[in-house]
Symmetry: C2
């Protein structure tokens, strides 16, 4: 169509053609979701946002109630070949090993040090909790924040050779910005550890620490001489996954979101809580990993980010399912 306008300029309609060109170009420039193909998910997002932001209509939602919640792993950044949190824990075991010579002969640490993922898997949840306790506790919250921040700033993903904070989804960054430009307040509600996200979510996603909800271990306040500290204890405080997500949303946000974005069965209850039974329009979206070439392809059978039940009920509940391969022009931001 643009091409047609340009060639018509030869018969004296140059001015009109130029004006139209400008209009088309302005529209292209102002597309808030340029990395999304013009397929159903983009149309559904835009339709929802226009519906709840159009004043004097029954579907209008006041700004204070425009709460949008986003899972992190697999929804905003990549979760393969393993959760970034797990990569962090394994790296920590390796870098702490010289202080723990006994780990050479003790599972699950031996498995980590030898890169024996089969033995690690065999250690199960109990083994994983031992690793978390050893690597995430026993220091102050300030100390841990520095460790996490330093690690995330230096480590590279083995396949893409980029920092994990660059393996975030460009279309989702655009979506976050688009929602905020329309008066939404955006929150992360992740199964991941809260203190591993907070050092970088504001810079990367535009989401400040106070809008990041996640799993956590217990901390204890102490005065160390004149200096107050929060000591990290080797005990789980809260697992922000599955049915824990709506619980945390209610406790920490105190309002029911009107939009939820996830990618796995861990987000099922958050999607249900957000979209079912409310009196205003609601929006639910699932990112389906279908692009083995540009990222990964997985759903029902995967160790990390299993998507099975939520995929089955998505059409029944009217949730939008993003086919990463077909619906996204670009996966990661440009280098």
């Amino acid at each position: 169509m643009l091409h047609g306008i340009l060639i018509s300029a030869r018969d004296g309609t140059l001015a009109v053609g130029a004006a139209l060109l400008c209009a088309v170009s302005a529209q292209a420039q102002s597309d808030p979701l340029p990395s999304w193909n013009d397929t159903e998910p983009k149309a559904a997002i835009v339709a929802f946002v226009e519906k709840v932001t159009t004043e004097d209509t029954p579907d209008f939602v006041p700004e204070s109630e425009r709460i949008a919640v986003f899972d992190n792993d697999g929804t905003l950044w990549t979760e393969q070949p393993m959760y970034v949190q797990l990569a962090f824990a394994l790296d920590r075991v390796k870098s702490m090993a010289f202080e723990h010579p006994e780990w050479k002969d003790t599972q699950p640490f031996k498995a980590v040090l030898e890169g024996d993922m089969k033995a690690l898997a065999a250690a199960g949840e109990k083994g994983l909790l031992e690793i978390i306790a050893a690597t995430h506790a026993g220091m102050t919250s300030d100390e841990f924040q520095k460790i996490a921040s330093d690690w995330i700033g230096t480590v590279r993903d083995p396949r893409f050779k980029r920092p994990y904070t660059e393996l975030v989804y460009q279309p989702m960054l655009e979506l976050l910005a688009y929602l905020r430009a329309n008066g939404f307040k955006t929150f992360i509600v992740s199964g991941g550890g809260i203190e591993l996200m907070r050092p970088w979510t504001e810079r990367v996603y535009g989401i400040p620490p106070e809008q990041v909800i996640g799993s956590s271990i217990k901390t204890q306040f102490e005065m160390r001489g004149d200096v107050p500290i929060l000591m990290r204890l080797p005990q789980v405080n809260f697992i922000d996954d599955k049915a824990g997500k709506p619980v945390a949303i209610n406790e920490k946000i105190g309002r029911r979101p009107i939009a939820a974005f996830g990618n796995s069965d861990g987000d099922l209850e958050m999607l249900q809580w957000t979209t079912l039974g409310g009196s205003t329009p609601r929006f639910g979206l699932i990112v389906h990993h279908t692009d083995a070439e540009r990222e990964y392809a997985y759903d029902r059978k995967t160790e990390f980010g299993r998507l099975d039940q939520a995929l089955d009920v998505a059409p029944i509940n009217g949730w939008t399912v993003v086919d990463m391969k077909g619906d996204w022009k670009q996966i990661f931001p440009e280098k």
Copy 2:
């Protein structure tokens, strides 16, 4: 001084006098803390805010880090003759009694129904927890929110004959607005139950639900047919008091506040966490209840809002102590 300017107008300096008058009047109008007397606390607050908001100085704090935390009971609203939460629980026992004929003969409910505060006190913390379980649990979060909202909207304080939401401190409302006008984000960090505050904090304090931190009971997500609910369980989830306050601040805000406002020993650790050991300027303030005529006078010996240790260490830590009688022109908002 204003008077002096006015009488000098007789000798032809009328225009100058009028101009000065306007300037003085504009200054008075623009005083952001008009209910505060011009005593030390007001000067300290203004000096702190000017310090952290003046760019290109070593004390400047970027807007995103201007976090201010406020206790609620006794700091933002009245906590005598008993915490509003306790008044709510006792009222709930009375209104639920017809469904529980056995309460007539069972402590601690019998004590509540007979108004026997001595027997109630004798039931201790165990008795109180039984009352909380009976009155705050066993319904959905939506149902509880409606109960709390209806109650707070209709009940009147016995002494002042006003809704509790009008027994908030006018000088503190001005302080909240002043801080926000200077780029601060204001949070409540209260020992009170979170769900009893959230229905009204935005309207009364300008603090939205997601910036209200408080005590809570456990909730559980369930699908009731097609409708997702959060069921309130008779189990304590978190007590947001004393050493719990810094723990909750770290977990829920994820940044160290630069200003904290409290009134009792329950706020001691929050004040310590905020003001001690940070690298930027910090501000701590304690509201000291010294005005039996206009409100209440209490500190070291009271059932509710005991202020003892925090009062002792306030001068050592450089915390500002507000003498309600001397420092506040007005206690409650005009009717």
